[in-house]
């Protein structure tokens, strides 16, 4: 014990005193509600005369999930959405970061412009694109009209609704990937590039054998981070399509919202939340182990 170097301020009282506010907040507002959610998921909760009536159901809520077409659509669409949107954002963001770190002038200006969408509320992004994609007067239909194409009901047609929501998300979050990649590219050691140039590496070889391997940790972190947020998508869908037409843009967060709040099926909504949280945790474990492997490889 005596061998441990004395670190500043290791008296018990202060250690607890300054840690406890965050601990209490987390216990009260994350652990407790999750316990509440788990408990509720085994019950059917109804209201009679202003009183909650709890009927134990065992695992019936969970069993019902597998037959819920809305839940299945939500699951499938969320995966499609997350994969396409995050994939698109990362590729575009990487390309733009590569371009931007090569220009000598105007870098700050480009960066300022690209930060803008990150700061705009999701619901306002939804409002902006609801106007932009409007069938009658939206700028998108006006623009393709000038090129001689027929106007499209982007958000009202099952075939284009999900793709439109994905494109809106790419607009919203590509700048975030760009920003992280730009910071990553700027922190790379320059001598490796000089060595590659002396060896006569082409631009593509340089990208493939120098930049990408060095950037792998940043790429993985960005990927995991974006995937986490994409999985939670709610605001844009709420405003743009409300999950429709039909179930074309139904995503998990929205399904939970509908079952829990709109239909007031508290127990069932809780079971759905528990399953989603479980899936998310699995995703996190996969993401973290992939990151660890990438770090080892790099």
């Amino acid at each position: 014990m005596a061998a441990v170097p004395r670190r500043s301020g290791d008296d018990r009282m202060w250690r607890w005193a300054i840690f406890s506010p965050a601990l209490l907040l987390m216990l009260a507002l994350s652990v407790l509600p999750l316990a509440n959610l788990l408990l509720t998921s085994f019950y059917d909760v109804t209201w009679a005369h202003g009183q909650a009536v709890w009927t134990p159901l065992g695992l019936a809520n969970y069993a019902a999930l597998s037959d819920d077409a809305l839940f299945r659509a939500g699951l499938v669409n969320t995966v499609i959405f997350a994969v396409c949107a995050v994939g698109g954002q990362m590729m575009l963001g990487f390309l733009l970061a590569l371009l931007c770190c090569r220009v000598t002038r105007g870098q700050v200006l480009y960066r300022t412009v690209f930060i803008l969408p990150i700061l705009i509320p999701g619901i306002v992004v939804g409002a902006i694109w609801k106007l932009m994609l409007n069938y009658d007067f939206g700028l998108v239909n006006q623009a393709i009209g000038l090129l001689g194409f027929a106007a499209q009901d982007w958000l009202g047609t099952p075939q284009t609704a999900l793709a439109s929501v994905i494109l809106v998300d790419i607009w919203h979050w590509t700048p975030f990937c760009f920003l992280l990649f730009l910071a990553g590219l700027e922190s790379l050691p320059q001598d490796v590039y000089e060595a590659a140039r002396i060896d006569g590496a082409s631009i593509w070889q340089e990208l493939r054998y120098v930049t990408l391997p060095l950037m792998l940790p940043t790429i993985m972190v960005t990927f995991v981070f974006r995937l986490m947020v994409a999985f939670k998508v709610f605001d844009e869908v709420y405003l743009l399509t409300g999950g429709g037409p039909g179930t074309a843009t139904e995503v998990l967060s929205f399904t939970i919202y509908q079952r829990f709040f709109t239909e007031n099926r508290v127990g069932y909504g809780a079971a759905m939340s528990v399953v989603v949280i479980f899936l998310v945790s699995v995703l996190l474990v996969i993401g973290l182990s992939a990151r660890k492997r990438a770090a080892v490889a790099a």
Partner: protein
């Protein structure tokens, strides 16, 4: 120094691509802000030129049927209060966890839990928060939303402040200890000044995230406590959407973000990139 022609050509191509991308980012925002200055008819006709009017902003801000100013105030109150709470609790906890002698598992369990919690869709917790708030008589108050936003931003702040707290030189803290500084003095006099840039970054992000948050605000507020995003979402649900007013309120809602973009861009970039690059 003269650059080779091929190099210069590539430079031009780079700029062309970046300018095109910037246009894709800026045009929708500008077009919608402009729509806020139009009459509904001018917007529906799709005319390119129009005479700007202030009627929409007038209607949104000052009409008797609009609560937008109340929504704005609510958003500001919730954003500022939750940011302050989040910053204080997260910084204290980060310093305690990283710089005081805790068993390893305490640090890992707590930070690991924060990470899992950060991944959970907030909507999954909104129901439980609502029930809990009602149980203690806090339902539909601003305080319930403040607490919710504080805990939602806590993982981000813990992570960010952890990065900065670990950069404070241990020797400096030890020297202060030897001079007889108590823990509060040490924190206030030594640690806080050093981590001030981190505090600024976390503050900006925490405020922006709270300002933007919709899913939880939608379910924890009523008409009197609704925040800006909730108010804007209402527009889209009306039977007859008042597009130009929706555009005007969207324009007003991004004002704080624009101000922060101009005065605190350094901290925004720092906050967003710190975790990923380190």
């Amino acid at each position: 120094m003269r650059m080779p022609a091929a190099f210069r050509r590539r430079g031009v191509a780079n700029h062309a691509a970046l300018i095109a991308a910037s246009a894709i980012v800026v045009v929708p925002v500008v077009w919608v802000v402009a729509a806020g200055f139009r009459t509904q008819i001018s917007l529906l006709m799709g005319a390119f030129w129009f005479t700007p009017i202030l009627a929409n902003f007038n209607e949104v801000l000052f009409s008797k049927t609009s609560d937008f100013l109340v929504n704005y105030r609510n958003s500001l109150v919730v954003g500022l209060t939750s940011t302050a709470l989040c910053l204080v609790t997260a910084t204290l906890a980060a310093w305690s966890l990283h710089r005081m002698r805790w068993p390893g598992w305490v640090v890992h369990v707590f930070l690991g839990w924060a990470l899992v919690f950060h991944m959970i869709p907030p909507i999954a917790l909104a129901g439980a928060w609502f029930t809990m708030a009602r149980a203690v008589g806090l339902d539909s108050t601003l305080l319930s939303l403040v607490l919710a936003h504080t805990v939602l931003n806590l993982p981000m702040a813990l992570w960010l402040m952890g990065v900065y707290v670990r950069d404070v030189p241990v020797e400096l803290e030890e020297a202060a200890r030897l001079d007889g500084a108590s823990t509060p003095t040490l924190l206030w006099r030594i640690v806080v000044p050093i981590i001030a840039p981190g505090l600024a970054a976390a503050a900006v992000l925490s405020f922006v995230f709270s300002w933007n948050e919709f899913a939880v605000a939608l379910n924890l507020t009523i008409k009197a406590t609704a925040t800006v995003p909730v108010a804007i979402a209402k527009f889209a649900q009306d039977y007859e959407i008042r597009y130009t007013q929706m555009a005007a309120s969207a324009a007003l809602s991004i004002l704080p973000a624009l101000v922060l973009l101009l005065i605190a861009q350094r901290y925004i970039v720092k906050g967003l990139t710190q975790g990923a690059v380190k």
